[in-house]
Subunit: 199 residues, 2 copies
């Protein structure tokens, strides 16, 4: 008995991740009853983003320009390429303030269960990017999940034979982490990859 425009809105809201029928209904009612100006902004922003946003041709992240600002920056070191799964991960790397190289954003990970293989992930474009002759080292910063690990292995196997240096970010006890609360897999890895103490 809902008006059809309302049903369409509820249905459309369900395309958002984590939004089921109940939440979608609550969201639609909220937009129409409490926040029509917010709804207007949302509608406009979606339309505008769809028109304006594409992928940077070099690093594959979201960008309004053909090549994003970061890739164009003369301050970044073009000989190091950090591979991450998502733009969020790239932001996390930037927040460390300890990386000056460039990025390649996979926009996903190899995940056979979801039907995402090397081809779907567009790893050939990463290949072309990494073999531009300028990149000397590829740092794999995919997640330490099964999928992230599989992705890292695949990229390593792909790039190593081409003579590009490939490294993986370290795994170990988090800074501020207490051994008591660290899972045993992490601790085992931290033990195996122990470093000699300087000084």
């Amino acid at each position: 008995m809902n008006p059809s425009a309302l049903d369409s809105l509820i249905e459309a809201l369900r395309c958002l991740p984590g939004v089921g029928p109940k939440s979608a209904q609550r969201m639609a009612y909220h937009l129409l009853q409490r926040d029509r100006s917010g709804a207007q902004r949302l509608g406009d922003a979606v339309q505008h983003a769809l028109q304006a946003i594409r992928h940077c041709q070099r690093c594959n992240t979201f960008s309004e320009a053909e090549v994003c600002e970061r890739c164009l920056s003369p301050r970044r070191d073009p000989s190091v390429l950090c591979v991450v799964e998502t733009p969020v991960d790239m932001n996390m790397m930037e927040q460390t303030l300890s990386y000056q190289g460039l990025y390649y954003v996979l926009m996903g990970r190899i995940s056979p269960l979801d039907g995402v293989g090397p081809r779907e992930l567009g790893l050939d474009r990463l290949m072309a990017r990494a073999l531009d002759g300028v990149v000397k080292e590829v740092i794999l910063a995919t997640n330490y999940t099964n999928e992230g690990e599989a992705t890292a292995h695949y990229i390593t196997a792909m790039l190593k034979p081409k003579g590009v240096g490939v490294t993986r970010i370290a795994r170990g006890v988090p800074v501020g982490g207490e051994l008591e609360y660290v899972d045993s897999g992490t601790l085992a890895q931290a033990l195996r990859e122990r470093k000699s103490c300087s000084g």
Copy 2:
């Protein structure tokens, strides 16, 4: 370092209830990366709903017509008016299949903490609706929360002196409920409002 159209989209998504900065970011990335057609549908549906949907002049629920289908139905009993807080509550009442009267949807509840008083809730419109000369009984089906109770009390005080019958849906042990798991307030109420057994 996000493109501005992306930042606008993330900001706009935050007008949805229960969506914070992290979820909004995840939603925006999902829409742009995984579901552009869904995003297009969402943008269109929001715009269309904003244009098409208004409030039924009689029952105040969302409607595309001036007066909604239910209010126009000759099958409903116009002498009974059920007051609910939201369209969801109205749907719940309909699902009981045991109500044939009409509705008035408050689109909220009296909630002084949120700055919603009788005036903001538009109780004068309910007043006009209930005193149309046809309505004989107003059934208050607001929630049994503090706000819902306050709203019911206020409406009762408003309508009783005008000679309209005002009733409140019963409170008690839910059907299928076990005494062991029912809260003591509900049980006390069920005891106080006990009915004589027939037969």
